[in-house]
């Protein structure tokens, strides 16, 4: 391709986003610069802290606002600024802890409540908590304790023991906002003039050509059209496709690797939509985990515990289902469930597409069936029909935001008390997320009763040879993968109380 006709020749070179009502315009941005580095180092806005630089502690939490799918409301979501690349802010509004009180020093209800409830001790995690509380304030008008815990799952506090912060999450709704600013109005307030102004600003930012920048010898593209995205991926077959960046961010902050070309999928029409089509959940690869999870839970309620325990809100807001799959980690929590539901992937290279069963996608440790220049376009999950029993469990040292030692997923269809179809899959048991074929075979045609389960549990020993690591020993993994199948069985026959996570809640 000649210089004048490359897929990025019509790109905008200036990154633009909104901060404190002003449009920030940046040129020559290093595409690997994180939002946190920009805040702390470039503009000395130090309220946002670095606690871990891997998206696991929440001290760096900021809120990114964009226009929701209805086009009429602003949507405010918490993200980890430490692993979010700066150019992903293009066309969005960034809110940091300094944005809330502003120059007038009128505290936001979340800030006021944190003081009144004694929610800060050392204060280092506090700005992050304030931002997660703010995101909750803007998305849920009367959260339950469990919803508060879920909203705070990505924020660690080592001082308070959380009780006063949970109190603050309840207390913040009681304050009179005392202002008609969008910031100060809770989520159930009608869209006011301020919200409309903010939306108009964002629309204006998004009106012209897509972003394509170069800085520090590295490139970043943010195409809008699927064809354009496909062209770019074809043109730069060794480029890194950036979705949520919740793993790629760590390449930069932890491994000091700097990808030269990033092609961002987050703004691509055709990758960011989600629908039910032909009995399948049809999910664009760049749909956030938050949105994908909401849809999956709506159709397969049994998976609720799995998904609310999957990472944390700031991670799920950035990360995508496509990214979780493409990443190919043996411990990604979505894969076992998707495997048992016989999910399939639509892969695309240039103008052509092909479909691959998820079960055939993983070849070896962090190796997938993706060819150079090819990307995941969509994920199709057949909805389990009538008579299917579906479940997925994760076991980890901590309930929230922890990587599973073992994650199991189960689907059986019973016909006249016998197993007519069986899908059993695990993460954490092998170098790839994998179905337990021997176990499935053992169950097929068997009566759905304890003896069959015991036999199937033994078969798992032939399916897997797990390793020992910091998450658990191989022996524990072996023991628990079978016991989770037993738990699944017990739940299907209506045994009382077999899960501590939900006990008493």
């Amino acid at each position: 391709m000649s210089e004048g006709k490359t897929a990025h020749s019509n790109c905008r070179k200036t990154l633009r986003f909104i901060l404190d009502g002003e449009t920030v315009e940046l040129n020559d941005v290093d595409p690997n610069r994180t939002v946190l580095q920009y805040l702390r180092e470039d503009i000395r806005r130090t309220g946002t802290k670095e606690g871990c630089a891997e998206g696991d502690c929440g001290a760096c939490t900021v809120v990114v606002a964009d226009i929701d799918p209805s086009g009429e409301r602003l949507r405010a979501r918490a993200v980890n600024s430490c692993i979010q690349f700066l150019p992903t802010l293009d066309g969005k509004e960034l809110l940091t802890v300094e944005s809330l009180a502003g120059a007038e020093e009128v505290l936001h209800p979340a800030q006021r409540a944190m003081i009144d409830c004694h929610g800060s001790q050392c204060g280092f995690c506090t700005p992050g908590f304030v931002m997660s509380l703010f995101a909750l304030f803007k998305s849920n008008a009367s959260p339950t304790r469990q919803q508060i815990d879920e909203a705070l799952a990505g924020n660690l506090c080592r001082c308070t023991g959380y009780r006063p912060i949970v109190d603050a999450a309840r207390e913040m709704y009681k304050a009179n906002p005392g202002s008609d600013s969008w910031l100060m109005q809770p989520s159930n307030a009608e869209a006011g003039a301020d919200e409309q102004r903010r939306i108009a600003k964002l629309e204006a930012l998004f009106a012209d050509e897509p972003l394509g920048i170069e800085g520090c010898g590295r490139k970043f593209f943010s195409p809008r059209e699927l064809d354009h995205f496909a062209e770019l991926v074809a043109e730069y077959p060794s480029a890194t496709i950036l979705a949520g960046g919740t793993d790629i961010g760590l390449w930069v902050t932890k491994q000091h690797r700097n990808p030269d070309v990033l092609i961002y999928s987050g703004n691509v029409d055709g990758l960011t939509d989600i629908a039910v089509r032909g009995g399948c959940l049809d999910i664009g690869a760049a749909v956030s985990l938050t949105d994908a999870m909401e849809m999956i839970i709506a159709h397969v309620p049994a998976l609720e515990e799995l998904f609310v325990r999957f990472a944390s809100p700031p991670i799920r807001n950035a990360a995508t289902l496509g990214g979780n799959i493409a990443n190919g980690s043996p411990i990604g929590d979505s894969m076992p469930a998707l495997l048992v539901m016989d999910a399939e992937l639509i892969l695309r290279a240039g103008g052509s597409s092909r479909s691959v069963a998820l079960a055939d996608f993983y070849l070896a440790y962090q190796q997938t069936a993706l060819q150079p220049g090819e990307f995941i376009e969509r994920i199709r999950i057949p909805l389990p029909g009538e008579g299917n029993l579906v479940q997925s469990y994760k076991v980890a040292k901590r309930f929230d935001q922890d990587i599973s030692a073992v994650c199991g997923a189960y689907r059986v269809r019973l016909d006249d008390g016998k197993v007519a179809e069986a899908r059993i899959a695990y993460g954490g048991m092998a170098e790839i997320p994998a179905r337990a074929m021997k176990c499935e075979q053992s169950l097929l045609g068997s009566e759905w009763k304890e003896e069959s389960i015991e036999r199937a549990m033994r078969a798992l020993d032939e399916d897997f040879s797990p390793i020992s690591d910091m998450r658990s020993s191989a022996a524990y993994r072996r023991q628990v993968c079978g016991n989770l199948l037993k738990r699944f069985y017990l739940e299907t026959i209506g045994s009382p109380a077999v899960r501590v996570y939900s006990y008493g809640r």
């Binding site: 871990c52 891997e54 204060g123 080592r158 959380y162 009780r163 990587i403 910091m470 989770l484």
Partner: protein, 772 residues
């Protein structure tokens, strides 16, 4: 929060005012060390570390490091002009390894560059050739090899061997107890600035500015007078910033000395967790003899801890383990042996409780084992062994306990928590549920307050009153989130009868208060509060005397009350009086100095009165476990804790709740895991799991003991509260043990190792299910 305010002023002692920095915290304007404005030409420092647990460095090739983009300077051990040591007690802790590396992650060289990213990238480019030596990685391995950082100590009273032999019942046991990372949210950091004539000014996130000052002076070949260390606040510390910041500050200061430029060293989270010390993990062996009611006749304890590659504070920490292996129980015949094991792992250090929690963990396991053996409620055995009043009241180290309130606390808590009824309900539940099992336990806390090294129990404060009646307050304590600065300001406000917003709380600074002890051992408010009170009282006396003179009234007629001074018929504001006093040339600045009374202790015999007093508390925890996976969840916790007359009930409540949850993390989800090469693989929040909000029980009932002034004359009769509540978490561990024991219908002692991860719990469950 219920107010117990002593007077009408804003921020009076006893009022539950918010943390002084809370407004700055929630708006992001509280400046931590990394938030301070950066000086011109600031360099960022990174550390190159050892990849071997035990090796000699044959050669160190830093050419690629020096040549890396942005690099200004590199530094190795042989360039250190002064002492290559940052050990606080024993000189065995090199700043930069000199030829020998003794753990994976040990600092070998430092590199300064124009950005932190470039410095960190460059630090990875060193070529180090190692001659590997055999490492000692485990505690049992160290005992077998007689590998110790300090000599083995023992403490005994009576004849434990004979008492055990003569007892009606005997048990032997052994338990492993994991360590814990402090996981302060703000990582270790220091920024050193060059000052005139080679002097240094160091911002350090430290609980012990004085020690950083002394060690930086020694490392740079200077004297204490040449170095100033300042710390306004830390983003959490928990003991992890007692001795460890010296390493960070020394590396930064040495680079400043070398380059003549300001240098900042901020550790990345992974480097922080790999390079700096943690709570000691232990193996504990015991043999105990007891009667049919479970009363202990004699006990032998062996405590062995992983100290890591150097002594650090391990001597005092393991001493405290010995001092707390009685918890609240009278041990008539006792022998305690304490091994301080040298291992090729990071040197372990202070962490909230400072060895005490591990000692208490030991005796609580023994008590629980006795109860299981006899088929008794562990609570009954605990009560059977509690210290008495007027009898059975002397500790193994010969301190007579004069303030025992453990029975009162436990009686009240048993009632308010419904322990007995709930225990019966749980038994019923467990009979009906094959998979999930519930458990409940009550454990007591008695924790000794004072540094066991007597000389450290001293504190200083500095107070200035300006002519507008506002006050500049400084003391030797440091603020790490515990609210010390707020409490001390409340003391001064109370003493001078002025609103607290008239008082400026200022950064800890070695040039204002010299030779201050670390803010540690829960002693911050006790000691700095007293020192500040003494300073304020001096000024008040001078003002009283001046006012009496000036208004020609008797001193008794001069009254300080609610921002006013009444002298006879005259009333004037504190500001007016301050101005008048200045005009009359009355000195308006004072220092205060406090030394803790009554304590004395002979380390050679492990006897005396190491502690001024004890803090007490008790907790009831209820858990549920899954016998298929070993997962567990804390369902309810009831706490009753003794803060004496609290200086600030809101802040003290924060210490109680926060300490409890931190302890629960230690005993459940927080697991440190090393591989066979001695590499710590749990070195970030992705792999090391401290509690989150959902781990806090939905039903969490925390109370402070009412009407319980400290019997000793402490600052407004309050009690120290920093460390003691952490050990309330032992109730959660024992509730899990109780649930595990249900698997054998309470017929077997549970073999549960801490932390009680799902794997640890499942292992204990399976052991309960076996026939042996």
């Amino acid at each position: 929060m219920r107010s117990r305010a002593r007077s009408a002023i804003a921020g009076a002692v006893g009022s539950p005012i918010p943390h002084d920095s809370s407004r700055l915290h929630v708006t992001g304007r509280a400046a931590f060390t990394d938030d301070l404005p950066e000086p011109r030409d600031l360099l960022h420092v990174a550390v190159g570390t050892s990849t071997k647990a035990h090796a000699r460095i044959r050669s160190l090739d830093l050419s690629a490091v020096s040549a890396a983009p942005g690099v200004i300077a590199v530094m190795t051990a042989n360039e250190i002009p002064g002492a290559n040591n940052c050990g606080p007690v024993v000189d065995d802790d090199p700043i930069l390894a000199a030829g020998l590396v003794e753990y994976v992650g040990q600092a070998v060289f430092s590199v300064a560059a124009d950005t932190a990213e470039r410095a960190r990238k460059a630090a990875r480019l060193a070529r180090i050739d190692y001659e590997e030596l055999t490492p000692v990685l485990g505690i049992r391995e160290a005992i077998a090899a007689r590998s110790f950082v300090l000599p083995t100590e023992s403490l005994f009273r009576g004849d434990s061997k004979k008492a055990i032999a003569d007892a009606a019942h005997r048990l032997k046991g052994s338990v492993e107890l994991g360590g814990q990372d402090q996981f302060y949210l703000e990582g270790q950091i220091a920024m050193a600035l060059p000052a005139e004539d080679g002097d240094l000014f160091v911002y350090s996130s430290t609980q012990h500015p004085g020690e950083v000052q002394h060690l930086v002076a020694e490392a740079t070949g200077r004297q204490s007078k040449d170095v100033i260390v300042e710390c306004r606040r830390m983003g959490g510390a928990f003991g992890g910033k007692e001795s460890q910041p010296a390493l960070i500050a020394c590396i930064a200061a040495l680079m400043t000395q070398k380059t003549g430029r300001a240098c900042k060293l901020r550790l990345d989270r992974d480097v922080d967790m790999i390079m700096t010390g943690k709570r000691h993990d232990f193996v504990i062996d015991y043999e105990v003899g007891f009667d049919e009611r479970g009363r202990i006749d004699g006990i032998d304890f062996m405590f062995a801890s992983r100290c890591g590659m150097s002594a650090d504070l391990s001597g005092a920490i393991n001493d405290r383990t010995m001092f707390h292996c009685d918890n609240a129980y009278f041990l008539r015949n006792v022998t305690v042996v304490s091994h301080r094991c040298k291992t090729n792992t990071v040197s372990n250090t202070a962490f909230r409780g400072f060895g005490g929690p591990q000692g208490m963990f030991g005796i609580e396991v023994v008590i629980d084992d006795i109860a299981r053996h006899l088929g008794l409620d562990p609570l009954q055995v605990r009560r059977e062994n509690f210290y008495g009043k007027g009898e059975r009241d002397t500790t193994p180290y010969q301190q007579k306990i004069e303030d025992n309130i453990i029975n009162e606390i436990v009686d009240e808590l048993v009632n308010t928590s419904g322990y007995l009824e709930r225990r019966a309900d749980i038994r019923k539940f467990n009979q009906q549920n094959p998979v999930l099992k519930r458990g409940i336990a009550l454990t007591p806390v008695k924790f000794g307050i004072s540094f066991t090294a007597t000389h450290l129990n001293q504190a200083g404060a500095l107070l200035h009153v300006y002519t507008d009646g506002t006050v500049h307050l400084n003391h030797g304590g440091t603020e790490m989130g515990q609210g010390l600065f707020t409490k001390v300001a409340q003391v001064v406000a109370e003493e001078l009868q002025i609103d607290i917003d008239r008082i400026k709380i200022t950064a800890s600074d070695t040039s204002k208060v010299p030779n201050a002890s670390a803010t540690a051992a829960s002693s911050g408010s006790d000691m700095n509060g007293k020192a500040a009170q003494i300073a304020a009282a001096k000024i008040r006396r001078r003002l009283t005397s001046f006012a009496a003179d000036h208004f020609s009234v008797a001193e008794q007629e001069v009254v300080f009350d609610n921002n006013e001074i009444r002298a006879g018929g005259k009333t004037l504001s504190f500001a007016e009086l301050a101005h008048l006093a200045w005009f009359a040339r009355v000195p308006l600045s004072a220092t205060g100095f406090y030394r803790t009374p009554k304590i004395n202790y002979d380390r050679s015999t492990f006897s005396g009165r190491p502690f001024f007093y004890y803090a007490y508390g008790a907790a009831v925890s209820e858990v549920i476990i899954d016998t298929l996976t070993g997962e567990q969840r804390l369902l309810r916790a009831d706490i009753l804790h003794d803060c004496g007359d609290s200086l600030n009930p809101a802040i003290d409540m924060g210490q109680i709740e926060g300490g409890f949850i931190q302890g629960v993390g230690w005993l459940t989800s927080e697991e440190l895991w090393w591989n066979a090469e001695g590499e710590l693989k749990t070195h970030a929040p992705s792999t090391y799991k401290i509690p989150t909000s959902s781990d806090v029980p939905v039903d969490f009932r925390v109370s402070m003991l009412r009407s319980s002034p400290n019997r000793e004359e402490t600052i407004y009769r309050s009690k120290a509260v920093g460390e003691p509540p952490l050990m309330l978490s032992l109730s959660a561990f024992h509730a899990i043990r109780d649930a595990v024991a249900s698997v054998s219908d309470y017929s077997k002692r549970p073999q549960l190792e801490a932390p009680a991860t799902p794997e640890s719990v499942l292992k204990a469950v399976i052991e309960q299910q076996s026939d042996e």
